[in-house]
Subunit: 178 residues, 4 copies
């Protein structure tokens, strides 16, 4: 079964406790599309991670993770980008925390476009410029930059987690490329 | 001490359990500014509630409340408006769930403009047209409609919970009235 | 050659004068996607016009037109919807005039996704709820309401003016349906 | 009389021709608030120009100017920032051209919050990070950076052109600082 919203902080709670919390409250997430911008601010490249998902399949994904208690959205964005792309990634969160879109993940398919079998999660989605050197961390096998003008027509879209493919389309629409 | 984010679902958990959850996870809220629109879509009136706050002071407030697990943002908006303005209020959530602004409430003053001594809460803020008949419910003493063009200059602003005054200004800026 | 941005106010200037103005200044437009909303504010139906374009081909289109001097964006939206959908359409412009997206049309293909052989036009794009009775006017042959959940997968997309197909996708992404 | 939307390209047309065009069409503008961001993306400083206005009064202003025919919004933003702040300013337009707000200027006071005695202008408003070295150009006497957290409480607001004061408030509300 595909992981549709990636969470690697399970260790902040033991597994049982996190599973219990997930039955009681909506979980707050940030989903981040890492991008390179040209001199005019156009999105020129999209950074996607390659991972092994919970079923052993290789999938591409954007940066995604939970907002911790007492953590600001900006801190969560920077923490998750650095966790996945390395400490030299230099992410630049946008000037406004109004997200480009909001994704509501439900455990039951059909309640929205976004499914997460583990939980009800509400995710704030951002385009985040990454200016530094990136190197994939932890469970990421690879980080690849794709040309923003052609990615939506490419086979890469089929390798993306389905929820992340939707968010990438919305991000490129927001940026005027789709 | 002022209640800066109103929550009346404590009863969904017992008090101890809710207090525990609040120490563990950010709580997801919706803050709703109820409005009347004219034929061109201009915000003409703002609906504010009059309540007795936790310290026995009379304050004005917008509609605000927690998103429950497995509840969509739209359902939470409608539920909270109907809970405060009555079952005939006929709220119309906007076509997009991208909020006009996001308010991050922290227990410690100074971490953001929004303080909530009880918890870390992240609130999605919406202008919501209310087309039906409103009657204040539960702990609301009164619902009053104020002229959107003059409210920001009026003494009403001092009667509003401080966080809600900020959100009202942002909502009127968003609507082109400030 | 396809009309990519529809303009029927040429009569406000004689043809020569309008052609001259178009060489001198960017033209300001509104592009409006007429929608029906359900009780929770979800976009349920999309209204598309059927027209004969400048080359005698039958195409579907959204509502689109120029903003006149001294006319507000709200007035332009209402005027164009009523011009195309009839005086009983009862359009409701959104509470904020911040557009869901901005379309920049250039005469030269390749400068952006939007081409208009006649002019440089900048269009503010809105989802507009239409609550009344619609009847196609003037050069529109028909107005048809399409189910918002399936329209993007349907053959209707190939009948839309290419620029309007892009805008419809962006509008549905904005509304959480794509 | 205050200039509420600054335009220094009159030379692209002779004065008579520009005056004529202004009576015929809405003019498309960009209004840009130059900012410095901290490592988390928070707006830390606001750059304001000091100019002599048409009546010989010294006023502060943001960067503002007309969009030329066949010029993209991004090109207009960069051109106007470099024109006012110098060729080493290195402005970074945001990834999306959806403006933070739209300002509609009318010659007649009372039709909107924004007045421009010369014309009907519609302005797309953006926060733009400026990363390089700035030096005021042409008719600007000085460029001063102000602390974003205190500027709205300061006497600087009274020195700003009234329309620009409104836009600065909206920009800071958008960025979560007001």
């Amino acid at each position: 079964m595909a992981r549709t919203a990636v969470d690697t902080e399970s260790n902040w709670f033991d597994d049982d406790e996190l599973a219990q919390l997930r039955r009681k409250l909506p979980m707050l997430y940030v989903d981040v599309i890492p991008v390179r911008l040209d001199a005019l601010g156009n999105v020129s490249e999209i950074g996607l991670l390659l991972r092994v998902d919970g079923d052993g399949r290789i999938v591409r994904s954007i940066v995604s993770g939970r907002v911790l208690v007492h953590e600001s959205l900006r801190e969560a964005i920077v923490r998750h980008v650095e966790k996945d792309l390395g400490p030299m990634a230099l992410p630049k969160p946008p000037a406004s925390m109004t997200p480009l879109t909001v994704a509501e993940y439900f455990p039951t398919p059909g309640q929205s476009l976004f499914v997460d079998p583990r939980q009800h999660a509400v995710s704030m989605v951002y385009l985040v410029e990454v200016e530094g050197e990136c190197s994939p961390q932890h469970d990421a096998l690879e980080l690849t930059w794709f040309d923003a003008e052609v990615i939506l027509e490419s086979a890469v879209m089929d390798e993306l987690e389905p929820s992340h493919a939707i968010l990438l389309r919305r991000a490129l629409a927001h940026a005027g490329l789709f």
